[in-house]
């Protein structure tokens, strides 16, 4: 084993161990706030792991969505939980301290430890040389319209999954709204530093979003990462106290939310009526169509994620 391999191996081991420790620590932390912060640290470390296993696309998605947006969502929820919290004591410890509960916990722990050991042996028993579908993807990449393999899989080879996934996102927002949304956060007085930060960062975020979208056709990036960065811009604006005016939260907002899924579904409907396979791209125009779909999807993903963060529910006349 040469020196670099050894160093990397140590690095990986430290990262792996760190992940396990951070996860355990985040979940067992006596204070929820600390738990969330540790979870965000866990997600950041996950993205290091993604880079180490040659998955830069996933690393980008993890940083933007896993660490960034999920962290923001968790913290916002915690701050809203506020006074309805039971005492610190009852909310933080496991369900009970009785003998029965302790036995239950140790039984669960031993059982899961056994499961973990079994999984470890199985993973080690997997064939070492499986290439999965790498070769198939490479062979069809030229016909897919893009040169980034992950984007080709997401938008073309398994575009149907992506369509359903966009709908999961929309459905989650519908679910939040159907719960009646949350009361608007009280508008805090403008903070100069936050305002300035937002003013500088928003253009940078928009630019990064556009770059990620464009890069996605040939390099790591794509609609989801771009959408997540766009969503982050929305979150920042909302934190800086921006309020979207009422006239834009009705139809305009709805149209933005459904742009991505609608364009995808319109394409699906076209292929059905034309008697083709569902979501079959014409080979010459695949590249252009994928870019169009990605632009619409990015807008919708960004808007949906920001709306999930704001979570106030529609403020138009039907929703009130």
């Amino acid at each position: 084993m040469d020196r670099l391999t050894l160093v990397l191996w140590i690095f990986d081991s430290v990262t792996g161990l760190g992940l396990l420790l951070l996860a355990g620590w985040a979940l067992a932390s006596p204070q929820l706030f600390r738990g969330i912060i540790l979870f965000v640290a866990f997600s950041l470390m996950m993205s290091i792991a993604w880079v180490r296993i040659d998955a830069p696309d996933v690393a980008l998605a993890e940083i933007a969505i896993g660490a960034g947006l999920t962290g923001a969502l968790l913290l916002a929820a915690l701050s809203r939980l506020g006074d309805s919290e039971p005492t610190q004591e009852s909310m933080n410890r496991p369900i009970e301290r009785s003998y029965r509960a302790r036995t239950f916990r140790s039984l669960t722990a031993s059982l899961l430890a056994a499961v973990a050991v079994a999984l470890v042996f199985l993973i080690l028993a997997l064939p070492g040389d499986s290439e999965g579908l790498g070769a198939e993807v490479a062979a069809s990449l030229d016909a897919s319209g893009v040169s980034s393999p992950v984007t080709a899989v997401l938008l073309n080879f398994r575009g149907y999954d992506t369509l359903l996934e966009l709908l999961v996102l929309l459905l989650a927002l519908l679910g939040v709204w159907s719960l009646g949304g949350l009361p608007a956060q009280p508008v805090s007085p403008a903070v100069l530093v936050l305002d300035t930060l937002a003013r500088i960062l928003i253009p940078v975020l928009l630019l990064s979003s556009a770059y990620l979208l464009w890069a996605g056709t040939h390099a790591p990036g794509g609609a989801f990462q771009a959408g997540a960065v766009l969503g982050a811009a929305g979150v920042l604006l909302s934190l800086a106290g921006w309020q979207v005016r009422q006239r834009y939260t009705g139809v305009t907002l709805r149209l933005l939310l459904i742009a991505g899924p609608s364009l995808f579904l319109a394409f699906a409907l076209y292929t059905i009526v034309a008697g083709q396979s569902l979501l079959e791209y014409p080979p010459q125009r695949a590249g252009v169509m994928i870019v169009l779909l990605e632009v619409a999807a990015t807008l919708s993903i960004g808007t949906t994620l920001a709306a999930l963060f704001v979570a106030e529910g529609p403020r138009n006349k039907e929703g009130q």
């Binding site: 903070v191 530093v193 936050l194 300035t196 930060l197 500088i200 960062l201 940078v204």
Partner: protein, 99 residues
């Protein structure tokens, strides 16, 4: 290894040292204000050294530009967030450490 490699290694090591110092400060200092002080200052400098170290090894000026941009963004975000945390702590009445 050529000269630039050594330069890069030294710069990276200095950067890591600052990170380490900041982290020690984060763990050891008594209250939120002093911790922020330790963390932001030394991390910004540490990152600066890391960026310089990587810039020495960079393949093109374009990459150097990107590295500098990263550093500036982290400076901006770090400084602003440190301010916001300190502001939040003051508003909630967290006292400063005096001893």
């Amino acid at each position: 290894m050529i000269l630039s490699d050594y330069v890069a290694a030294v710069l990276l090591l200095v950067g890591v040292f600052f990170f380490l110092a900041g982290t020690v400060g984060l763990v050891r200092f008594p209250d939120v204000y002093t911790r922020l002080h330790a963390l932001t200052k030394s991390d910004n400098v540490g990152l600066g050294f890391v960026v310089m170290g990587l810039a020495v090894e960079a393949e093109s000026w374009f990459v150097v530009g990107k590295l500098l941009l990263i550093w500036m963004l982290v400076l901006l975000a770090g400084a602003s967030v440190a301010h916001l945390i300190a502001r939040g702590a003051t508003q909630r009445g967290v006292r400063m450490w005096t001893d």
